[in-house]
Amino acid sequence: MSINDMSFKFAGEAGQGVESTGRGFAKALVRGGLYVFALQDYHSRIRGGHNFYQIRVANHDIYSHDEKVHVLLAFTQEAIAEHLREIVPGGGIIYDPELQVDQDALVSRSVKAFPVPVNQIAIEEGGNKVMSNTAATGAAAGLTGLDLEVINSVIRDNFAQKGTAVVESNLKVAAAAYRFVREKYGDSFAFRLQTRKTAPRMLISGNEALALGALMAGCKFVAGYPMTPGSPILEWFATHSKDYGVVTKHAEDEIAAINMVIGAAQMGVRAMTPTSGGGFSLMVEALGLAGMTEVPIVVVNIQRPGPATGHATRHEQGDLLFMLYAAQGEFPRIVLAPGTIEQCFEAAYRAFNLAEKYQCPAIILSDAFLAHSPRALELDALSLDVPIDRGEILSDEELDQLTTRYQRHALTPSGISPRALPGHPKAIYSTSSDEHDEYGQICEDAAIRIQQMDKRMRKLETARAEMRAPLQYGPSQARLTFLTWGSAYGPLRSAVDILNAQGTSANIVQIMDIWPLPVDKVVQALQGAKKLISVEQNYSGQLATLVRAYTGIKVDGLINKYDGRPMSPEYILARLKEVV
């Protein structure tokens, strides 16, 4: 018998509520004191297709899904066909007896069938077939011995706005399915769940943590154009704007969105635009505008596979090098690539501080897997009282004392020119996307061009000194060192735990502060590596390219993936055998 160490897979068509049911169940598990990591997989369509929501449960913090499924909750025939082979021996499948299951396949795989008439229960107890999902969660609880009360508490919250009648019906349906499974199958299932007493914890995704971090940083203006998987951030701000004093603008296109953000930031407001790679591509010229006019903006690129529209709802880390060089000409920028939920929160407020400090665009590079996968987190894992550093902004009192004409782009040793926000009578200035002099006045003089270029690029060197060293995980001395970035960290961390447990020492070097690359710190982190393998969700190994270009360090192997589906620990371990 195994306790609190298993995975559930809810699978069905778009429109069947796979995601909401899965997330509700995951939430119930978190309320039951368990640690959870959830993976969602869906198609770019409103109805039909095949979606799943996979929940890994443990007694300890977990950073990724894996390939083992212990309970499959199948809502369609296709779900059974697609996922039966993923079920571990001794695992089971919960399905409505209206669906057909190949009993021979079950026997040969030692998988148990648990037919539960979820549709009939939903109709008889709740009066509506739509509640069959609720029945399935009740059945899953019954099968694994999970306390029904944690399911009930989520039902009460999730359906509260639909009225007490809906809540009561769902409670009845869940209880009936729970009872059905208890009576019919008892404690026969080998994989069990036991609730634990813990302090309340959150189930929160990368996008949600990122939005929260931006809000706490004082982001007051968000403009965007919907594009999966960036839109949830725009929607989050739209939902919270009224209560928390933010202006959220669904713009006419991404070009408008970033230019609005530049306009707002030029006036002195902390402003951000969330998008995905396609939207970012449209924003590129304006990125240079922010660089040239030294306007601090935050751009969030939640990557998905490209090129063009790629796989709309899927995952890739293919935009790294694009972020570093997007837009014509050369100008300083900051690029942060979080790899965990906590890092999404942290990257959000750091991006605002760094953008304002260095008066340049700051890019947060996240990805679909990180954006959509919620994980259980302690409440204090996200400390809301985040540090705020607005950089060199001249106060009204300081501006009152000005005796000479204000220079928006004054030459300074750090390259940072103290900012006056437009509106003060002593600091009236205009600045330009064309090359300009210290005052912001258009200027084609060669010497001034060199001065202004040098001044702007000096900011990059000033910033480089404060960029953080790579994060390291695992023993300091190891046979294998994995280089990674972004959400690949999660499954890699699970894989490294397995390797170390099996006696192969392994560690991880994760680069979050991508640009300006803290070269010395990266060299220091990598120089002891005996065998260096890059793990990235792209075709060419873009981080490996970056590291080699700036440090001269060459990786010994690349574990990559570009099929749109996130890596699993098993995948990494299998590929490791090929590259070592």
Binding site: A217, V246, G263, A286, H424, Q441
Partner: protein, 290 residues
């Protein structure tokens, strides 16, 4: 007391002698001064083009952005600080070509901007190509056999997009243009001033001599009602021997976009604290995830 001189800048314009931009520039400075607005209370936003250089030659807050993006930048600026008068100056290529989507959106959004479009019906800074408002058959470097497209009518389109202040000025009459800009500065939402402006170098057809005898002021007719949308539609379609200038359509009954944004009810965004709630109220956000 604000005077026109407050807007003077030591930087001299690079416009051609006789360029219509001089008149637009003078009318704008005069209108601002006569409206009692000081340079620090004004934000001039432009794009790229000859006319878009105007903020560089003027003492006022200014921002010269990208070609076509004037209205998007201005929208962000206005939402960030609606205490400043945000005024856009850009050409027909910037406003109606590259920025066409932003134009339609700004109109229907009714965001509080004064949008002065320096419409010379040709590309000047790139040295003579046809523009969105060039007439059918117009011969330029990129339309050597004559433009195949028919021209964009900004006033009709603004009316169709539920514009609330739709006007036309002309650079041959600074006094009238000054009046028009002053009216626009008092408007509640988005105010379009399409300014007919000769390009003395690249558009020899629509010269002062061609335009002067044709333009007439709609406000000279006491019976013209700029609140009548159907009448305004007819006026926006009028072109050729007689070209109406003035306020073709106006309503003050539609609130500006920024008047309807809850976060702006307590004052300009830039003047508000970064955090508007207590930490306990922010902590409550975590409850959404429990």
């Amino acid at each position: 007391m604000v005077t026109v001189k407050d807007y003077f800048s030591p930087v001299r314009p690079t416009w051609c002698t006789g360029c219509g931009n001089f008149a637009i520039w003078n009318a704008l400075k005069k209108a601002l001064a006569e409206s009692g607005l000081a340079p620090h209370q004004v934000m001039l936003i432009s794009g790229i083009g000859c006319g878009s250089k105007l903020p560089d030659y003027t003492t006022a807050n200014g921002y010269l952005s990208l070609h076509g993006r004037t209205l998007a930048v201005a929208t962000g600026a206005r939402l960030a600080n609606h205490r400043l008068k945000v005024i856009c100056t850009h050409g027909d290529g910037d406003g109606y070509g590259e920025g066409g989507n932003h134009f339609i959106s700004a109109v229907r959004r009714n965001i509080g901007l004064v949008d002065i479009v320096q419409n010379n019906r040709v590309y000047g800074l790139t040295k003579g190509q046809y523009s969105p408002t060039s007439p059918h058959g117009f011969v330029t470097k990129t339309s050597p056999q004559g433009a195949i497209e028919h021209p964009f009518n900004p006033l009709t389109i603004a009316l169709a997009a539920n514009g609330t202040f739709i006007s036309r000025g002309w650079s041959g009459d600074v006094e009238h243009l000054t009046w028009l800009i002053k009216e626009a500065l008092h408007h509640r939402g988005y105010a379009l001033i399409d300014v007919l402006q000769p390009c003395v170098t690249f558009n020899r057809v629509y010269s002062y001599d061609w335009l002067r005898p044709r333009v007439y002021k709609v406000q000279d007719d006491p019976n013209y009602d700029p609140g009548d949308k159907a009448a305004a539609f007819a006026k926006t379609q009028e072109w050729g021997e007689r070209i109406p200038i003035g306020i073709l359509y106006r309503t003050e009954d539609v609130p500006a976009y920024e008047e309807q944004v809850p976060a702006l009810a307590t004052g300009p965004l830039v003047k508000q604290p970064l955090r508007v709630k207590t930490m306990a109220e922010y902590e409550r956000l975590k409850q959404e995830y429990l």
